[in-house]
């Protein structure tokens, strides 16, 4: 990629990504069992009208779209940061076990302590956080390496999955509420869910600004980053914590949605390169747009069934990921 092409692509991406997000939001708001025109949506949001569609937009579609938007943004940001700090293209909250940690904590809360369900995001965050700490220390041996972190993550992921399945077998009578959540869905997400996750998500997304410089320096390699005065190990720990905060927020609201954190930053990187000043914002916008689009498709195209968006994303994401892997040989 020459400098001119890269500059052009960056400009295009920085313009396209917000436009895509906007389109996805309008798509999500206006499509469904009752189509609602954009003008009407605008009226509903801006004025205090009491049209028949008011409830649909304000109580059903808008919170759902916003939860989807934040979920996608968080997952893409977490993936982009993890891929950078672990210098491994396979790093994704779903793959290295951070999501599973959050998921297990959430399942425990839902199944064993249903009266505390308002603590779901906190539980998921603590679960993701604890998992990332465990992974970090398992892989620590006079410093840590990206490969060790990913291997430890894979092992921890398997263990957590087993525990989660164990809980579901033992309490099979109570898993009705858990199942759709496990496959990653946004059905019935309300303002209530949004108000739980939004603080975590917004704090996490805000903190990603601080991730840009260390992530860019880590691209040069650990030694070079150290030689440029970076506390590489500390930064890696903090960035992993940041991505578990982001993953925890996403998991608590939308369950186990995979591939967003893997596919979105990958695709963006292919188009505009690895500079995190551009990669992070474009990935965040792209991830948000992807989840909102996918969720709208999942709930409208298969009427009367409402598909969990996680299933749709996996069906699209997994082949796309394989395509990326194959292409990677002549990529870098």
């Amino acid at each position: 990629m020459s400098r001119q092409i890269r500059a052009r692509r960056r400009t295009i991406a920085l313009i396209t990504a917000p436009v895509l997000l906007l389109l996805s939001v309008f798509y999500g708001l206006s499509f469904g069992s009752v189509p609602i025109s954009l003008r009407e949506i605008w009226m509903i949001i801006t004025t205090d009208s009491q049209s028949a569609h008011d409830t649909i937009i304000m109580n059903l579609r808008l919170p759902r779209v916003l939860v989807g938007l934040l979920t996608g943004a968080c997952l893409a940001a977490a993936g982009a940061i993890l891929q950078g700090v672990m210098r491994n293209p396979l790093a994704d909250p779903g793959i290295i076990g951070v999501s599973a940690g959050g998921g297990l904590a959430a399942v425990i809360t839902m199944v064993l302590l249903p009266q505390l369900s308002y603590l779901l995001p906190a539980a998921a965050f603590i679960g993701a956080f604890a998992t990332s700490i465990v992974i970090y220390f398992i892989s620590w041996d006079k410093g840590t390496s990206p490969v060790k972190i990913v291997l430890a993550g894979v092992a921890v992921n398997a263990l957590l999955g087993a525990v989660m399945n164990g809980i579901m077998v033992v309490y099979s009578d109570r898993i009705q509420a858990v199942l759709p959540w496990l496959s990653g869905g946004l059905n019935g997400r309300s303002w209530h869910h949004l108000s739980f996750m939004a603080p975590y998500a917004l704090v996490g997304l805000g903190l990603t600004i601080a991730a840009i410089k260390p992530a860019n320096l880590l691209l040069l390699g650990d030694d070079s980053a150290k030689l440029l005065g970076q506390k590489v190990e500390l930064q890696r720990l903090l960035l992993i914590l940041l991505s578990s905060l982001l993953a925890g927020a996403a998991v608590s609201a939308a369950g186990l949605i995979g591939f967003v954190g893997l596919v979105v930053p990958h695709a963006v990187r292919l188009i505009i390169g690895e500079d995190y000043r551009f990669l992070l914002p474009v990935s965040i916008l792209g991830g948000a747009a992807l989840v909102v689009f996918a969720d709208t498709i999942a709930r409208t195209w298969f009427d009367p069934i409402e598909l969990p968006v996680g299933i749709l994303l996996a069906c699209v994401g997994a082949p796309f990921f394989l395509y990326l892997l194959r292409k990677r040989s002549n990529w870098r």
Binding site: M1, R3, D223, Q230, G273
Partner: protein
């Protein structure tokens, strides 16, 4: 030692890391000079450099930089004092040359500040000018040639504006003209800016010609330090590289003329060829039989063994086993040895062996040593 103050002091450094070890390394690097660490592969040069750069922590011993213990500096402080060019093996992301060099400014900037100030840009321009790569300003780094890439990497270290620069084999993988260009540029930086330069070098000639001070290492120990003329001597070459050579200096360049080792001439050897005619399809059995015959390797005077076979042993009706010996006596001694007898008694010659013929050949081995280089040089002059 000279009276120049030292920029870096190493005190009894001990380190063990896999096959690389450092023992009791005590040395100092004179301030404002160019120092080369030389020595054979695996002597611990790069390890030592990494310890100085705080990329590795020595098991024992102290590093002090400008009179202050290295441990006292924060990472960022250290990066403003010492910059280092590691061996060029990390994959770099897609960057323009200017973006790469701009990374050199990061130790001088805060956590969130990435935007370059006018001063930063001036320093980046200066670094590019010093390495004469200004024309590549906007090119993508990976489209440059190896030599230009190396200059860009050095410019990045320069942009750190440190008083000490460490370089790990800066000229390896470059052609001779780029090697000389890079060394010349480093020398100029050293002389004009007074920057202390320490590098690991493989090329003794360049080390001697461009550096003021040498630190010679072997097997993790320092064997000699001092100015090039004092360090590079015949004794040194014998001790460190295990070669016999004459050393003289022409201007600043050492002229190293290896003295050829004397090879033994006119040695004789006996080739014993054992050709067995066999019925077709029994090649495998014969090989297996040879396998069981007593050990030969331990025999005195035994030089080597060859078995001639085709790839498809089933088609073969002849197998040659060739052994080489110092003398006929040695071969005969083997046939009388315990090992041979053990393997041949109680064993009849199997019927698939039709006939068996042993021949002896005496061979004179004559090795021609290379003509003495001195004569060649004399002729050219």
């Amino acid at each position: 030692m000279t009276n120049t103050p030292s920029a870096i002091d190493l005190e009894k450094i001990e380190h063990e890391m896999g096959m690389f070890q450092l023992f009791d390394v005590t040395a100092s690097v004179p301030e404002g000079k160019m120092t080369a660490i030389i020595g054979p592969n695996g002597s611990g040069k790069s390890t030592l450099l990494k310890i100085v750069a705080k990329l590795l922590k020595a098991d024992k011993g102290d590093v002090s930089v400008q009179g202050k213990a290295a441990g006292v500096y924060s990472r960022a402080d250290y990066a403003r004092t010492i910059s280092m060019l590691p061996q060029a093996k990390e994959m770099l992301p897609e960057l323009t040359v200017r973006e790469l060099i701009a990374f050199g400014r990061s130790p001088h900037k805060g956590m969130f500040k990435q935007r370059l100030t006018d001063e930063d840009n001036k320093i980046i321009d200066w670094a590019m000018k010093t390495m004469s790569i200004r024309r590549h300003d906007d090119r993508m780094f990976h489209t440059l040639s190896g030599g230009e890439q190396q200059k860009a990497r050095i410019a990045m270290a320069l942009a750190q504006k440190t008083s000490i620069i460490l370089l790990d084999e800066p000229t390896t993988f470059l052609d001779i003209s780029h090697q000389l260009e890079v060394m010349g540029m480093l020398r100029k930086i050293n002389q004009e800016q007074g920057i202390t330069i320490v590098m690991v070098l493989h090329d003794l000639q360049q080390a001697a010609a461009f550096c003021d001070h040498l630190i010679a290492m072997k097997d993790g120990e320092i064997v000699s330090t001092g100015n090039p003329q004092a360090v590079i001597t015949s004794r040194f070459l014998r001790q460190v590289y295990e070669i016999e050579a004459k050393v003289s200096f022409e201007q600043n360049y050492p002229v190293i003329i290896p003295i050829p080792r004397n090879y033994e001439e006119d040695a004789t050897m006996i080739i014993v060829t054992n050709i067995s005619q066999i019925t077709k399809g029994n090649g495998d059995k014969l090989i297996e039989r040879f396998d069981r015959i007593g050990k030969v390797e331990g025999m005195e005077g035994f030089l080597g063994l060859e078995v001639l076979l085709t790839q498809n042993t089933k088609d073969y009706d002849e197998v040659s086993v060739v052994t080489r010996w110092n003398s006929k006596d040695d071969f005969q001694a083997w046939t009388k040895s315990e090992a041979f007898r053990e393997s041949h008694t109680h064993r009849k010659t199997p019927d698939y062996i039709i006939s068996n013929k042993i021949t002896f050949q005496e061979v004179k081995v004559k090795r021609n040593p290379l003509p003495p280089i001195q004569q060649e040089l004399a002729k050219e002059a």
